[in-house]
């Protein structure tokens, strides 16, 4: 326990050291409007860590949204963004993000139940609406590794390429959009 606190302390020192040449540290909260439109509640926070960089974290969750009755997703997305413009939270940026999610979705006659881990790159553009409000358009692609069980509705077995049963669960990865959204953010300080 003592070691853990020591490590956290070191990390904090490192973080503080890297942000010494920051002009001002800002903190903003945001929410993805597209996710909200799909009845996926989400909230995010973003903090500047450099002249061009921010760190952010957002969580999202939904349960039986209006467009799909058998769906439940909970996820978290940390992201490190590099803003090309003169300051953070302004104009173009690229972000490297991670994704972790737990999901259970029924599509047609199949049900997927499992977890997904992935990472991707996001490209976005921030339009300042006012002194504190910003609008962030972004999209990202990444590789998502997932481990899930795939059930057929009629309880029959779906065989994979290697003739193992899908309902026993399996790993796979896909290139997928990891981040699509229009985020409204409010700069608190």
């Amino acid at each position: 326990m003592k070691m853990v606190t020591k490590k956290i302390g070191l990390l904090l020192i490192l973080l503080v050291g890297m942000t010494t040449n920051m002009q001002a540290q800002t903190f903003a909260v945001n929410s993805n409007l597209l996710f909200l439109a799909s009845q996926t509640y989400n909230l995010g926070a973003e903090i500047t860590v450099g002249n061009h960089t921010t760190l952010g974290l957002s969580v999202f969750a939904n349960n039986k949204p209006y467009f799909l009755k058998n769906m439940r997703v909970v996820g978290v997305q940390p992201e490190f963004k590099y803003y090309f413009g003169g300051r953070p939270l302004y104009h173009h940026y690229v972000g490297i993000g991670l994704l972790g999610a737990d999901y259970s979705i029924t599509l047609g006659n199949r049900t997927y139940d499992g977890t997904a881990w992935g990472g991707g790159m996001t490209f976005g553009y921030v339009i300042p609406l006012s002194k504190r409000w910003n609008m962030d358009f972004h999209t990202g692609v990444g590789v998502i590794f997932s481990h899930h069980k795939e059930f057929m509705k009629d309880e029959s077995d779906l065989l994979l390429n290697d003739n193992t049963k899908a309902k026993d669960g399996f790993w796979e990865y896909r290139i997928l959009p990891t981040n699509i959204g229009v985020t409204l953010s409010y700069t608190i300080w």
Binding site: F84, G85, H92, L159
Partner: protein, 514 residues
Amino acid sequence: MNMKGYKLILPLLLQFFVGVIGAQGQGNLLYYNKVDTMKFQNRFNLKTDAVGWLTLTPNLGLEFSLGNKNWNQWTVGVYGRANWDVNTRTKSFYVYNIYGGRVEVRRYWHAKIPKRAFYVGLFAGANSFDIKFGNTGKKGISFVGGPMVGTVTQLYGYMNGASLDLDLGISPGVMFADMHDYQRFYKDGKYYYSATSSNTGYKISFSPWVYASSIDAVHISLVYHFGTKLANRYKNRNLIDNDYRLAVEKEKIRRDSVHTAQVKEKRIHMDSLAKADYERRFEEQRLENEKEYAQDSLRKENKALKEKQMIEREEAKQRADSLKEVARQKAIEEKANAKITADSLKLVEKTKQFEEKERAKLKADSLKYAAKERARELKERKAMERENAKRAADSTKVAKEIEKQQKEADKVKDENSKSTEEVEQSQTPKTEDSSVPEKEKENQNTENSDNALVDNLIPDSRQLVNEMKRAVIFMAVKEAKENTLKSLEASSSSDKGATQTPTMATFQTAIETY
């Protein structure tokens, strides 16, 4: 404790490096209007296509400037993308796998805005695709090629000189593809893909999904230029390279001057040709003129000569005529003179003869008279003085009479000259000549009687009388001669034959007077 301090150094070192990199980035200067030489690593730029990412296809492009100067405008590039088959565990319904690569050649230029450049180029590429958006999928290989056009706009320029740019471009082209169709089947809880057609072989194809994915016609790329930003690349060399511009201008001036010189030379040549031609023509004209002039002058001279000859001939003729006339007149005069001379000679001879005869007669008479005198002298000596006075009175009377006769003779002569002029055509000299002696004889007879009387009376007075007679004759002859000449002059142009008659008449009168 030692361990703890060592661990604290690491973040501090990291911090230091970050700071150093930032400082270096700010050290770069920005200059756009001069020639800049790029380092090799700065001649590259990286790009990635957002359209590719939207189709879940990771992609990366690398572009390389062909020159190391910032006025270089040509680049070559490679671009690759891959959406590999990640679904290894199941056969999915939708498939979009593509591996593609293409090479590009571009030429950039700047418009008015420094942060924007335009380009045109050519591309060629090859793709391996596997696309299934419906029941039937297509799998194969395609080759593409075509032109491209687009614009690059700088989004951000960085203190280290680099820039992030947005490249919007379209690149239509043609596709040669070799592919086959396939479908997915389900059997015994497992999915299979199975080909439903054989390969088509390479041919131009416009199969929509395949064409769209292979051509990759629309690009919205983010470009990262290393080293120096877009505004300092692909520049117009003329605007930044003074030496080059000067060289170009110099070359232009040289070419212009050469051209001008050539033009000048050509003009001079043409001018000289024209001049030569003009001179030749002028010379020809001159020769012609001279020839004409010579002919003219010759003609004129000939004419003048002819006129002169004519004048000379006329003059000669006139001279000859006048000479002839003179000669004729001279001849006439000579003739007249000769005749007069002959006449006068004849007259003189006649007079001489007459005188001689007279003298002889007088001698005889005087002899006779001397004999008579001696006889009578004695007898009549007393009355002699009385008679002498008487005789003197008589002699004066005779002299007056002679004078009277002379006057009469003159009168007659005038009348004769008049009458001869009137009757010159009817009368002939012969008849006149024949008539003259008779009258003369009569006159002589009368005179002789007078003379004898006179001689008899006073010999001295007779001598005086003879002298007087001679003088009168001489006077008459002279007068006649003058008259003849006058009449000759007057009648020289008219009749020649008639001129002789008045002379004869005058002589006649003269003789009559005598």
